[in-house]
Amino acid sequence: MKKVLWLYEGEDNVPLPQIQAVEEKIGVHVEVRSLGEDFSSENLEQVLILGSSFSWHRERLLEFALQRSINPLQVRFFPWQEVQRIFPTTASKLLEHFLVETLKRRESYPAQVVKLLPERKVLVLPRPEKALQEVFSRFGIPVYSPQPPFLVERDGVNFVLSGESFHEKVGSVVLFPEWQEEPPLRIPMEVEETGKILPLARFRNLLSQKKFREKTVVFVVPPQSHSLKDWEEVFALARDLSRSQKAKIWVLAEEIMVAAPQFERLYRETRSEGALFEKTKISTIVLQPTLDMQGLWVEFETERDRYHQRFRADWVVYVPKRSPLPFGASSWWRGDAPIEVFFDLENPNLPRFSTSLQGVFIASQFDEEYFLELAQTVDTYLTQGKIAVSDCTSVEEEKCVLCLTCLRTCPWKAIEIEGKSKRKRAHINWEQCHLCGICMAFCPASAIGVNSLYPEDFFMITTTGSGEK
């Protein structure tokens, strides 16, 4: 007879009568234990954890499954603590309902939780400074940076570098991107000739030499620039120029960045100084030189009310678009999807330096402390490794139409296109996959299946009686 194990957290009273009822109803043997106690995991049909939804998010369930080496799909969690309080009268009924449902839909997948430890080696590009190497060696992480040409390919959580003479496996890649800076908008020759349009950096140097009293200065900030620094500088410049020199300031951007500490304030200050912020599609801004070649006609359409703006500017300052790939990376990187750069402000839920490619880190500064922080991050990644679930996702060969939507939308770049010529199919690299299921939601052919740890086809907690508020 199959066994179901109830593990409960805290001193919650477990409704034994209901359990007996369930036992009879669906003929299972239910064992009740407190989380602390240990148990044998042989012929377990189901492990049911009763606890609080706060403490039992998926990562923890996975770890639990890992420790006990149980198929993660057999581990189900029920937020018993909350449910008891929310539905005091019907809680146990709900629990029963949940168990019945869970046991009903028992197709067992051979899913397995695996702890993946990447190779304890790191590839640094371009060739690292001594200082960095030392810092890494302090953590006992050997640094590789072979002479190009060579090729980097992903292999599970690891990266394989191959050149003529060598074939090396590293667990992590650190990039110091060499930003190729390019203007965010098309600059016709005659506009260039005026010399009135220039990147932020060059403008900085001008500040001391030129007067901007009553002048019109336009800042153009492309969407790609996630860099807080740029925004901070633009805000500051805009504020100071309009305050001290009564300059007329325009800031044209697709998104105005206020989502960082202090920025809300900076933004408001700058506006109160009279600087104008306009949202517009950068690509549609049109520049033309004035007759005297002493300024530029700036033309754009506001996003708000599609109003056509045209005015004369004395200076147009752009934050350069930064290409996310480091120096010639495309030549050595044979990745399925390009690397995107995330700056620290981007997402507090991701470790610093991290990119959308697991194990690839991006760094931009060159001082000891920074290196230390970087090395720590990489070290934690390499030592903690990643908990992955095998055989939990599937791509239905005959349904997949190779539209590449998954490849483009996967936030973890876990999708690979495998196979040759016509037989190509999308394939999910489970070592990289975080089981978020976004690809599944996007796949227009519904070819992707994710047997995630929660059921989606029935409601987990169903209010009994009247749903009326």
Partner: protein
Amino acid sequence: MRIASVGCDRQGFPALLRFLETFPEYRMDVTAVPCLGTVHESMMLHILEDGYQLLLLAGCPLDSCFNQKGSEFAFRKAQRVNALLTEAGIPKRVACAFVTADKIGEIKRVLESIVSGQKGEEP
């Protein structure tokens, strides 16, 4: 009205439970998904077909979604579904609330704004 709600197991789901706990006057059916990004249009419509007037999606705040874009995707899909529903003249809606487990006020705000007529899709 009958409300169904889906929460991402990182933030949304705990928040929903916490919400039901603190505001017993609200009642809704709750389920959890790994990430709001999993919820797609036909799934939303399927849920609404089960006789709910409102589907509430609760997930991580847009800029700190663990899966980087999941919440945003869900938000856009919800908007699309709402557009379809309005077009077809079906009086059902999908609403989004971007919350952390301790910021449940947002859920209340969204629900109220729905109840009081105007759609509260925007976070």
